[in-house]
Structures are given as C-alpha cells and as structure tokens.
C-alpha cells in the first residue's frame, strides 16, 4: 500500500490519511488525479520526507505528503 497524507486545506473532503494499493499509482501525479487535486494546488510534495516532483515514481510502502502553500517563521 501507499500512504497518502493530506495537510492544511487539502484535508477538506479527503480526511487526513488514505491508503492506496501500490498497483494503482505509478507516479505521485496518479495520486493527485485519484484524489482530484489540481497539481498547482500542491506546493510541497514529499515522498518519504524528501521533496519530490509530481512525475517521480511511487512504490509500495511509500509515504506521500501533500501540502498547499504554507509557511511562516
């Protein structure tokens, strides 16, 4: 399974965490589509804690974190 974690406004209507069978997503972008998230709404995409691109591959056991624009100091 791939674990998808949603944060900030991306939680609206999606909850905090979703599990997706690994065979149903080859790249992070497939997860955007699955959860109906426009790519431009994702400001920070982490795969296992590291900044990644939507086209980067995902695999079984990965943790994907999706953030809209957030920040501060």
């Amino acid at each position: 399974m791939i674990e998808v974690r949603f944060f900030a406004t991306l939680r609206q209507g999606r909850g905090k965490i979703a599990q997706v069978p690994a065979e149903e997503a080859a790249a992070a972008l497939d997860l955007f589509r699955r959860f109906d998230i426009p790519a431009e709404e994702v400001s920070i995409l982490l795969i296992n804690g590291f900044h990644s691109k939507p086209e980067d591959p995902v695999k079984d056991g990965d943790v994907i974190s999706l953030f809209p624009p957030v920040g501060g100091g």
Partner: protein, 605 residues
C-alpha cells in the same frame, strides 16, 4: 519634511529626568534606512558595546523605519535595539501590532532611553509631549491587565508597550510586550527595561497617518503593485491567513526536522495534535493582523472562557515536541503565560526542554522540582515552570529563567544547551536543513531563524527549491537572505512580505516614501552594511570567532529518527565559504570590506 521620517528622536534620561528632542541626521538615516540598521548605528557610535547590559550605562532604542505607519502593506514594525543581557551582544527584537505606527504618528522616529529611574516609572507620550510618570502602583501587574489599566487611564486610543513581572525581575529570558499579544521577543530586552525601572511606554497620537511621504502618488502606485503581488501569492494571499505560521508543524515534521525532546530526536509521531490544522479546528476564532497587514498570520483563539492571542509555530514546537508534549491546550496556556509575564516564547520552552534532559539524566533531582517534576511530555510541567520562570523565587527557577546555557553549565552539562551565543535555537533542525545552520551560527543576535530565513528556499521552495541536504551554494544564499532581511527590518516592513516581494519591490516602496533612488542591488548593500555594523558591535562587545558555532549535538550526533535519520550539520565546511563570500576573516570584516561598505568608523577597530 517629506522623506518618511519626522527627523526627530527623543532622548530620555531616566536618571536625571531630562527629555530632549534631537534632530535625526538624515544622511546617516538614509545610509542605514532606519529601524534595525539605524538603531545599531546609534548604539555603536555611542559606545554601548562596552557597557554592562543591566547597568544604567546601557541604552534602549525603540525605533521605527521609514515605512512604519505608512500605507504600504505590513508596515507596522518597530524594533527594540540594545545590548543584550542574555547574549552580551547586539539585541534587535522586532515586533508588530500598532505601537510602532503610533510612535511614528506622534512624530517620533525613535526614542533613546538611557540611565535608570530612581523609582519605577513609565513614559507617557502624547504627540510632542513626553512625560515620565510614576509606575509604582503597576508593579507586579501582568502584561495584558496593565494594557487595560493604562488604556483606562489615558484613553482607549492609545497603544501600550510594557514588561511583565519577568522584566521587572530582570529575568534574562524576558521580553517587551505591546498591544497585549505582540512581542519584541528575544535576547532579554525586557530585563533591560527592568534594570532601568521602566515599566511601560504609552503612546497617543493625533495623526492617523503619515504626512511626510516624499512622493505620495509614487508610493500609492508601489503599494498597489506590491499588494497585488501579495494577494496573488498563495502564501501571503491565503495560506498564512488560513493556518498562520502554525501550518509549519506538519511540514517540518514531515521532512524530519522537528526537534523533539531537546533535539534528541527530529521527528514527532504525534505532531498533528499540536499542528496548525488542529489549532484551527479546535480553538481558532479568527486570524489576527498587525497594522495595515493584508497577510493576517496571527491566531486569535478561544482559550477556556477568554479570547486571546494564540501560539505561533515556534512555541507550538518548543512547548510541543521539544518538551515531548502534544497537549495543545497546555501549549496555549503556557504561551498565554509567556505573554502575561513577558517572556520569550522560544527561549523559555527551549530551556524547559534542556531542564527535562537534565532531569532525564538525573542531574536535576525530583526534590528540586517543588512538586512539579520536569518529566518529558508533562503538561503540568510546561505550564507551571513557565509561570515560575516568569516570577522566579527558588534557585532552580532563577537558573532556568536565565536560559539554557547558564542552567546546563550549572549542572555540568553545557552540551545539553541547544543555543548559539547563549540564545536558544529555533524550530528547525540544522542537521536536516543545511543552510539554516549558517544563519544560526552567524546571526549577530544569537541563534535566530528570522535573520536569514533559509527555510524559504530549502523547504518551502521560495523563491526556488534547493536541496535541503546539501551545502552547495548555501553560503551565498544565506548571505543574500541575511542582507535582504536586514534591509527589510530597517525599513519597518514585516519580513513575511518577502514570501512574495523581492528587492526590486522593496526598493520601489522605499524610494517613493523617502525620495531615495536605491537600485535593488544598492538596497542589498545597505542590508550588508547593517549586518556588518552589527558584527562590529559584537566585536567591540567581546565576541570571539568561536562564537560562530553550533552545538556539538548538531555536528556530531546524527539525527536519530524520522526521514532525516543519520544526518549531521556540515557547518565546518560551510562557514569558511560563508566568510569568503562576506569578505570576513576569522569571523570579522576586513578593513577592506568595511571601507567598501562605507563603514569607515569601524576601520581598524
């Protein structure tokens, strides 16, 4: 006057009671802009670097920038500049709210407070008129209540800056509060006010806006352009309003850079319990904004039966994972106590975390804890020890109120103090984010995140996404961020605008307001000048090259858990690169660098 300055500084000697209006030297003002830059220049020239910070010889400069109080976005900042009793070096604590704008509306660019009052006093400023009034009846009064009392006396349209009981007792982690929940938070500025027996400064102004702008139409155009950039930007236009700085808890934890249990770990599995998302869901009433700010990053929260200013990211982290705690109500309460007692909401919880590690290792004994053991994750401990540090009585309470360096040295474990230049490090693990370590090590005020916020490029992708794990080019980035930040602070504009604006926009605002003609590069050079005179202040105050450092834990103990497991800071490789970019040798500017920056007064020193 038509240059965004009122060209007037009040010099108030509390020892003699003498109050003088002095002309602002416009040439010097424009060379250092104002705020942080001009404040440091004044103190450097007046020899304050050499004085005992808690003696009558120290001076407090409350200073605005030319943009403070203007109609530009997020232009309500003022700074408290002094010699820090915590670090022994320059302190420049920056705050928002409306107090700074009111000081400017009253017709003052800055106040220089010197000497020490024979009895507890406060300043009442009403336009040109400044009075020293008796404050004895307000001794021991908490910050928010004092704000109410002074408004009841002088009118609801005044603005109040004050110290709580912590500042009165010269607690080294005390701060200056204004407008109830805004703080000039770091480096112990509250203790300097306390040493001068100065409890508050109340400002009332007839003016409601600045009437000294150089080119009103040009500023209107620049404001409009900048406001559009900020509202179109998803972070300054919506993101910060929605979740505030608290939104960072989950991001920083997500990359494994959220220091936990005094930096023994860097990932907290329960961080979502004290995140911005949870704060918004459980307690948020509405966003809060400082003077003329479209960002509105502040959190107005419901806390029991009261509506108060809520915690920012830093105290959420420091009272949260750094103390091994995930009880959000307890964090709100501890943060409230910081505001009421007038305490640095970073330094205090970080020192509690250090005390918890001392307790974990059996150095602090249970019998010293007076019924509240310093156990990891104890909501009671973070609340009660904050209260105690705000009004210390026992030996341990006094030690903790003096910060983690003095505490950990007293117990024989200086390595447990996560600090630089005796100031506690903020909420981003420099093992997991390489560039921020340069800023922690070299910030002139001691460890700080807001003197060159490398989190923007290394984590948030602003203005470009850098790889947080490598050191390539980080020295150059850090220098540019530090210089731009110094310029923004000197203008009196909020640093958060820089998530959307860049040097060209700041130059357009400043030039319209003051009639200068800075290019973006020249503006950055002013910032560099400011950073360098701060460094020369520190040199005169006794700073040594080895003070540009990070704690051993960050250099030698790899991250123990989470996504960044195994990483250490590579500061020793970055620091020489940074000095080379700065034109410094052994941590200090060369004479050639000083001359290039027009700092002739520092040459040969």
């Amino acid at each position: 006057m038509s240059d965004a300055y009122y060209e007037k500084i009040a010099r108030i000697n509390l020892s003699t009671g003498e109050i003088k209006a002095e002309p602002l030297d416009l040439e010097v003002a424009k060379k250092f802009i104002g705020g942080r830059g001009l404040g440091t220049k004044i103190l450097y020239d007046e020899g304050v670097a050499a004085v005992d910070p808690l003696s009558a010889d120290n001076k407090l400069v409350y200073i605005t920038g030319p943009m403070t109080g203007s109609n530009s976005p997020s232009s309500g900042r003022y700074m408290v500049v002094t010699k820090s009793p915590l670090t022994g070096m320059i302190a420049c604590a920056n705050s928002g709210g409306i107090w700074g704008a009111k000081l400017k509306f009253a017709g003052w660019d800055a106040l220089i407070v010197e000497g020490a009052a024979p009895e507890w006093s406060y300043l009442y400023i009403e336009d040109d008129k400044i009075q020293i009034l008796d404050a004895k009846e307000y001794l021991g009064v908490l910050s928010e209540e004092l704000d109410d009392l002074l408004k009841a006396k002088h009118g609801a349209d005044c603005s109040v800056l004050n110290i709580g009981p912590a500042g009165e007792k010269q607690v080294l982690l005390s701060c200056v509060m204004n407008d109830k929940d805004r703080a000039a938070g770091r480096s112990g500025t509250g203790a300097v006010m306390g040493s001068k027996k100065l409890k508050a400064i109340v400002v009332k102004a007839t003016r409601k806006q600045l009437d000294v702008i150089a080119d009103v139409d040009a500023l209107k155009e620049a404001n409009k352009a900048c406001l559009k950039i900020m509202t179109d930007n998803p972070l300054t236009g919506a993101g910060l309003r929605a979740l505030g700085t608290a939104s960072l808890v989950n991001v920083i934890n997500g990359i494994g850079a959220l220091p936990t249990k005094n930096w023994q770990e860097s990932y907290c599995p329960t961080a979502d319990k004290f995140s911005g998302e949870t704060l918004a869901e459980k307690y948020l009433v509405k966003p809060g904004a400082c003077f003329h700010c479209p960002i509105a990053c502040g959190r107005i929260i419901k806390h029991d039966d009261k509506v108060i200013g809520g915690p920012e990211y830093e105290p959420l982290w420091a009272y949260g994972s750094d103390c091994g705690n995930d009880d959000l109500w307890a964090i709100d309460e501890a943060n409230r106590l910081c505001n009421e007692y007038g305490l640095d909401a970073i330094g205090v919880p970080c020192t509690i975390a250090a005390a918890m590690e001392l307790y974990q290792n059996g150095c602090i004994k249970e019998e010293e804890c007076d019924g509240v053991p310093l156990e990891w994750g104890s909501p009671k401990a973070i609340i009660e020890w904050t209260r105690r540090m705000g009004d210390p009585k026992t030996e341990l309470e006094w030690l903790m109120s003096a910060g983690s360096v003095r505490l950990c040295e007293a117990y024989g474990h200086p390595e447990f103090s996560m600090s630089v230049k005796k100031q506690e490090i903020p909420a981003y693990d420099a093992r997991a984010i390489q560039g921020i370590g340069i800023n922690y090590a070299t910030a002139n005020c001691g460890a700080a995140h807001v003197r060159g916020y490398m989190i923007a490029p290394e984590v948030l992708g602003i203005p470009a996404q850098l790889d947080r794990t490598v050191i390539d080019e980080k020295a150059v980035w850090a220098k540019i961020f530090q210089d731009l930040t110094a310029a923004i602070d000197s203008m009196g504009t909020c640093l958060f605008t820089s998530f959307a604006l860049g040097a060209p926009e700041y130059a357009s605002l400043l030039n319209a307001a003051t009639g200068t003609n800075y290019t973006p590069d020249e503006l950055l050079e002013v910032g560099e000048r400011v950073f360098n005179i701060e460094r020369m202040f520190n040199k005169a105050a006794g700073m040594k090259p080895e003070d540009d450092r990070l704690p051993k834990r960050l250099l030698e103990e790899p991250v123990s858990n989470g996504p960044s497991k195994g990483m250490v800071s590579k500061l020793p490789e970055m620091l020489p690169q940074y000095y080379a970019v700065r034109g410094w040798v052994n941590a200090f500017p060369t004479d050639e660098t000083l001359k290039k920056l027009g700092l002739d007064e520092c040459v040969g020193k």
